[in-house]
Amino acid sequence: MRSECGYDLGMRNPCGCGITSFLSARRRMFGGELIVRSLHNMVERGNGLGAGYAGYGIYPERKDHYALHLMYEDEQCRQSTEDYLRLYFRIFEAEPIPTRLVASIDSPPIFFRYFVLPKEDALETDWTEPAWDEFVMSRVTEVNSKIPGAFVLSSGKNMGVFKGVGFPLEIGEFFRLDEYQGYCWIGHSRFPTNTPGWWGGAHPFTMLDTAVVHNGEISSYGINRRYVEMFGYRCTMMTDSEVVAYLIDLLHRKHKIPLQLIPAILASEFWKNIDLMESEMKKLHESIRQVYGSALLNGPFAIVVGHRDGMFGLADRVKLRPMIAAKKDDVLYIASEESAIREICSEPDSVWMPRAGELVSGSYEEVQQ
């Protein structure tokens, strides 16, 4: 609930959803219209109450700056947010996010983007990248939780999130995604079971470079939220999926947990399987469950996560939500339905159904950097 931000709708919406994504390991560029097409093919999985996209590699000329995508209710909160940002950041560029008029989209919020770096004097102690990240995370959390009517939609480098209330096609059209080129795209259409008509509630949810699209409902949300809040995160977007972004940021960036072990936390092995493992492996999984039990995502989910070094997909420990993956040359596709993949890649080299709790991961080939 966000009474302090004027969004006292008092609900956190569970939803059924469609997700799709692809990543080119060689960082080949693809236009945003591709992900829109893929997502539009699963239009039945949404109900027009939310769609969104994350594009990676879309700001090559500003790739070393944090790209802050902001959503404002009105001009006044833009003013106060910009005053706040100027206190803490050197702003290299600030502009409205270009949009198109779409007949079905009525009175959208205001969207701005800023390319920034932390101010040296604001960051007293440590002048290293991890410290910058931590600084940005704290400022983002502060904007989201303290400035009424202002929400950071994304805060990573060379990436950005475009999302809102509408069908996939409309949101793609509205944000002019066809004008962006990226090497990794993630899309999500939403079927919220209650509608606040709330733009911030669309997916993806982000923290720094991590962007999460989620199909599912988090039965463990109450404890997951209390867990991330112990580490300074604040859940402000009124959707349970938000907590997944913070969990992954916490585990992968702050706790430096290798990607390969993230599934052992979010979709832990069952004790009956752990008990049969050989001793080292057993100790590993035992310790993970002992220490990170509060981070276990219980309930049905399929997620796709974009991050600094690539993208991964994961389904819950009993796989109660669909997820399918495919590969064509250097491109990895992960989606809710095979049709979404076939729509943009008619003849994949391979298509497979990941098992419960199995990590499907794609990373960039370093030579291309």
Partner: protein, 501 residues
């Protein structure tokens, strides 16, 4: 003249009675005599139903003595009778078991969530449903090594105690309960792969074999504490306070100290065992820290648990306890049972366990030290539902005392302090103790916990949760009904009707 009238009335149906004398033999309180026929002496009756349970003819009825005081909502019969007794004796009035006053019961005002449509529920009979719980101090994060493509744990493994079901047996001392009752708890804890606490009466040598399932108490009287004792268990518990009698010590009357108790407690036979109110080496949190580390040193670095009564400042105290080095904080709510306590203490001191768990869990999270220790909640866990609610509020596990005694045959007559327990539980009279078959009692304890285990799995399945760690501290799945808003705020629980948020 008799100022104090009996609480119960005993009716014998002499038509049915065959004068077999079984009731007379079974009554530990001497409330029945056999002459030409069975003669009740109701002033001795505790209302424990032993006679009723053993009468082959179903010829006995025990009912409340319908003695009518003029109705008065203020001066209840309880108040009036207490005054008569004190006017006669000038003493503190004693009782046994937990607070029986009609205070608001928070657990009875909490409701659980269930899945519908958007989130499938899980059938625990078909799918895994995990209750395994680890107790103790752990790191707040892990570091990993990678060798030959395989990941392993870099951070050293913490010493944690594993239980297959988050229901433990609460401390009830050997002395306050009989050897057979105590042994039954040991047998059941082992069978269930869970833990029991000893209470402050030490551990009889013959039961050392169950050590892996026993947490050994060190209390203010230091009864039965010696190096070997500290080393045979799974952990050590420092008892600061008890929910039924916060701030006061213990008193095991001389009648309950025959030879075998005296040997285990290391005190003379037939003397009162008096535990001081405070531990006289703990007058501050820094003193507690010294005792925690002294016990760790003496026990070969076993986990140390500190048991406190739930009192107003419980959150800050629990935080201090974990920062002082304890691995486990055991919270005992104001409804917790006792073998003997003054009425005034039992009925008027402390706070409910639900509140204590909520504020302690929240405080530890705010301080970022929730990982430093386990919260065990006790103090009237009456059902699996109570256990689930306490875990959802933030407890890692619950401990049952009264419920365990009930499973062994206790009828909650509240006369434990007399040592006359007809059921062979809270007594040391050999002829009464031998009535309780430890294996029979252990079976019933195991059945009870297994039953609760099934029930917990059932509601977890309904909530779409298949591991207990996703229930723990998950207050989102609780709703309050008929609780005031301040209480709800303290509990961190929304009122019924509020959506997820």
């Amino acid at each position: 003249m008799r100022m104090i009238q009996p609480d119960f009335r005993i009716e014998i149906d002499h038509e049915k009675c065959r004068k077999c004398g079984r009731c007379v033999f079974n009554c530990g309180f001497g409330a029945l005599k056999l002459r030409d026929r069975v003669i009740p002496e109701p002033e001795r009756c505790a209302g424990c139903h032993r006679c009723v349970s053993f009468c082959p003819e179903q010829a006995i009825t025990v009912e409340l003595n319908p003695l009518a005081f003029r109705p008065n909502e203020n001066w209840t019969p309880g108040h009036i009778k207490a005054i008569y007794k004190q006017a006669e004796t000038a003493g503190i009035l004693l009782t046994g078991m937990g607070n029986d006053k009609p205070y608001l019961n928070i657990n009875d005002h909490l409701l659980l969530d269930a899945c519908q449509v958007t989130n499938p529920s899980i059938d625990p009979l078909r799918e895994p449903m995990e209750l395994r719980t680890y107790l103790g101090r752990r790191q707040d994060r892990l570091e990993f090594n990678r060798e030959n493509g395989k990941w392993s744990i870099k951070t050293p493994e913490p010493k944690l105690l594993k239980v297959e079901v988050p229901i433990l047996f609460a401390p009830m001392s050997y002395g306050s309960i009989s050897y057979n009752a105590f042994q039954a708890l040991c047998l059941a804890a082992k069978e269930l792969d869970t833990l029991m606490y000893t209470g402050e009466g030490g551990l009889p040598k013959e039961l050392y074999a169950y050590g892996d399932h026993i947490i050994l108490q060190v209390a203010s009287g230091r009864f039965g504490v010696h190096p070997e004792y500290l080393n045979v268990g799974a952990g050590v518990q420092i008892k600061i306070g008890q929910g039924a009698k916060p701030g006061i010590g213990g008193h095991l009357p001389a009648e309950k100290i025959p030879q075998h108790i005296s040997r285990t407690r290391m005190i003379p036979e037939g003397t009162d065992a008096l535990s001081p109110a405070p531990q006289h080496d703990i007058y501050s949190i820094e003193d507690l820290r010294m005792l925690i580390y002294a016990l760790k040193e003496a026990s070969g670095y076993k986990p140390v648990c500190v048991k406190i009564a739930a009192v107003h400042n419980v959150a800050a105290i629990a935080s201090g306890i974990l920062r002082a080095g304890a691995d486990q904080v055991y919270l005992d709510g104001f409804r917790g049972g006792t073998g003997a306590a003054p009425f005034i203490t039992r009925d008027h001191l402390g706070i409910p366990i639900e509140v204590a768990v909520a504020v302690v869990d929240q405080r530890l999270r705010e301080e970022g030290i929730r990982h430093l220790g386990t919260i065990v909640a006790a103090g009237s866990v009456r059902s699996a539902a109570d256990a689930v609610k306490l875990i959802a509020l933030g407890a890692d596990a619950v401990a049952i005392g009264t419920a365990a005694l009930l499973a062994m045959g206790c009828h909650l007559c509240q006369k434990c302090h007399t040592g006359n327990c007809s059921w062979g539980i809270a007594t040391q009279r050999a002829e009464l103790v031998r009535r309780l078959d430890p294996e029979w009692a252990a079976d019933r304890l195991v059945n009870l916990v297994r039953g609760w285990e099934h029930e917990i799995k059932e509601v977890m399945g309904a909530m779409g949760i298949n591991a207990i760690e996703s229930l723990r501290g998950n207050r989102e799945r609780l709703r309050g009904l008929g609780l005031d808003s301040e209480t709800l705020k303290i509990l961190g629980v929304k009122p019924a009707g509020a959506p997820m948020g």
